[in-house]
């Protein structure tokens, strides 16, 4: 038996993985070389002390949580920055509207109690969306729906049943607000909404 085999046997005993055959081998070896028992005891003690030290060090991990909200916030800020720099201030202003005005004027109220309470919107997301568009058009909120969907990501499903696609649906809306804001960047890099008055005439693009 070479040194590695001896080490593996000792290690198995320390880890509680030794079989009856392993123990027989150890006893036979110890009969020829009784220092094996003291070597085993020393190795066991080293392992216990090492693990105690490791446990003390890694205990700090219990205090570290996954930063879900922080990452979500960073992602939103990054998207706002991209919109502000790449799409011009009009896009940034549109995002600022959603940001400043909140969900009440920018999108339909969430359906939280099932379709039974709102029979007029239907039972499927498609029916609810269609109802929203129709009622929005009647009230003047919805101007139109852009036919193209903007595909963000797509991949094949693991079970081979098809593809998963993430896309953005574009609905053009109109809203009247007392103030208009645009996003500007402070010296520290924070995006803050600031008032951005426009001339009173229409751009004529709509």
């Amino acid at each position: 038996m070479n040194a590695t085999d001896r080490d593996v046997l000792i290690s198995r005993i320390i880890d509680g993985e030794a079989s009856a055959e392993d123990w027989s081998l150890v006893r036979a070896m110890a009969e020829r070389d009784p220092t094996l028992w003291s070597e085993l005891a020393a190795a066991q003690q080293d392992h216990t002390e090492l693990c105690a030290a490791v446990a003390m060090r890694v205990d700090i991990a219990e205090q570290i949580e996954a930063p879900i909200e922080e990452v979500a916030s960073q992602t939103l800020r990054r998207r706002l920055r991209l919109a502000g720099s790449g799409g011009g201030w009009l896009i940034a202003a549109a995002l600022a509207l959603a940001w400043v005005l909140g969900p009440h004027t920018g999108r339909p109220a969430p359906v939280s109690h099932g379709a039974a309470l709102f029979p007029h919107i239907g039972t499927t997301p498609e029916e609810a969306l269609e109802a929203y568009i129709q009622r929005g058009a009647q009230s003047g909120r919805v101007v139109g729906v852009v036919p193209e969907l903007l595909v963000q990501d797509s991949w094949a499903l693991e079970d081979g049943s098809g593809y998963e696609i993430y896309y953005i649906r574009q609905i053009v809306e109109r809203v009247v607000v007392p103030d208009l804001y645009r996003l500007t960047q402070t010296e520290s890099g924070e995006l803050v909404p600031t008032k951005a008055p426009l001339p009173s005439q229409r751009s004529g693009r709509m």
Binding site: D7, R12, I60, E65, A66, I68
Partner: protein, 202 residues
């Protein structure tokens, strides 16, 4: 069934890949201790473990959706940890504290029983960890991981992408090296030497 293995873990990995916040939280809580052990095995000694853990948690949450194979989650998370530790090592000018001949083995043991025993054990454990951190990478990782939540050879093998038999051999050899280094037999001129017995076995 271990909390680190099984169909439930696979479901959580899949959910986390889709961005499910609860799954991300749970996964991190289940795996953060062995991630800490990986960081211990790779980080520069002066680096703060807490900062590195926060960095790894951040990367995991931010990049989990890029993972394509749920079975690759653990090796992937390990690589995130190794990269975080090594990036810190590259970016910081570090004073290398070297293992010296008289540091680990001498002056630690006290024959006195009683309240001092606990302190002595802690001190010896600290020295052992210090030596373990100096072992070749292939040995120190499984050796430290074995101390985490009783991780089995198989679980360690999944993280390191190695067969169980290799993990078993490396842990056994790593323990041998620890004992030798602790006794001061494998040191010369005050600096840990890479001896033939420390070459990686697979």
């Amino acid at each position: 069934m271990s909390v680190l293995e099984g169909p439930q873990v696979r479901r959580e990995v899949l959910a986390a890949m889709r961005g499910d916040p609860d799954a991300l939280r749970t996964l991190w809580q289940q795996h953060r201790r062995w991630v800490a052990a990986i960081l211990l095995a790779h980080k520069p000694r002066e680096a703060d473990l807490e900062d590195l853990l926060q960095e790894v948690a951040m990367v995991m949450v931010r990049s989990m959706h890029e993972l394509r194979d749920p079975a690759a989650f653990k090796p992937w998370l390990r690589m995130v940890a190794v990269n975080a530790a090594k990036a810190l090592g590259r970016s910081t000018s570090l004073r290398r504290l070297r293992y010296t001949a008289d540091a680990p083995g001498e002056g630690a043991a006290s024959p006195d029983p009683g309240p001092e025993a606990m302190v002595r054990t802690r001190e010896e454990g600290r020295q052992l960890l210090e030596i373990a951190e100096q072992l070749p990478e292939g040995y120190r990782e499984p050796l430290l991981m074995r101390c985490i939540q009783g991780m089995s050879y198989r679980e360690i093998g999944r993280v390191l992408d190695l067969p169980e038999t290799t993990i078993e051999t490396r842990i056994a050899r790593g323990r041998r090296m620890l004992r030798e280094l602790l006794a001061g037999r494998a040191t010369r001129d005050g600096v840990l030497k890479q001896t033939p017995s420390m070459e990686i076995e697979s």
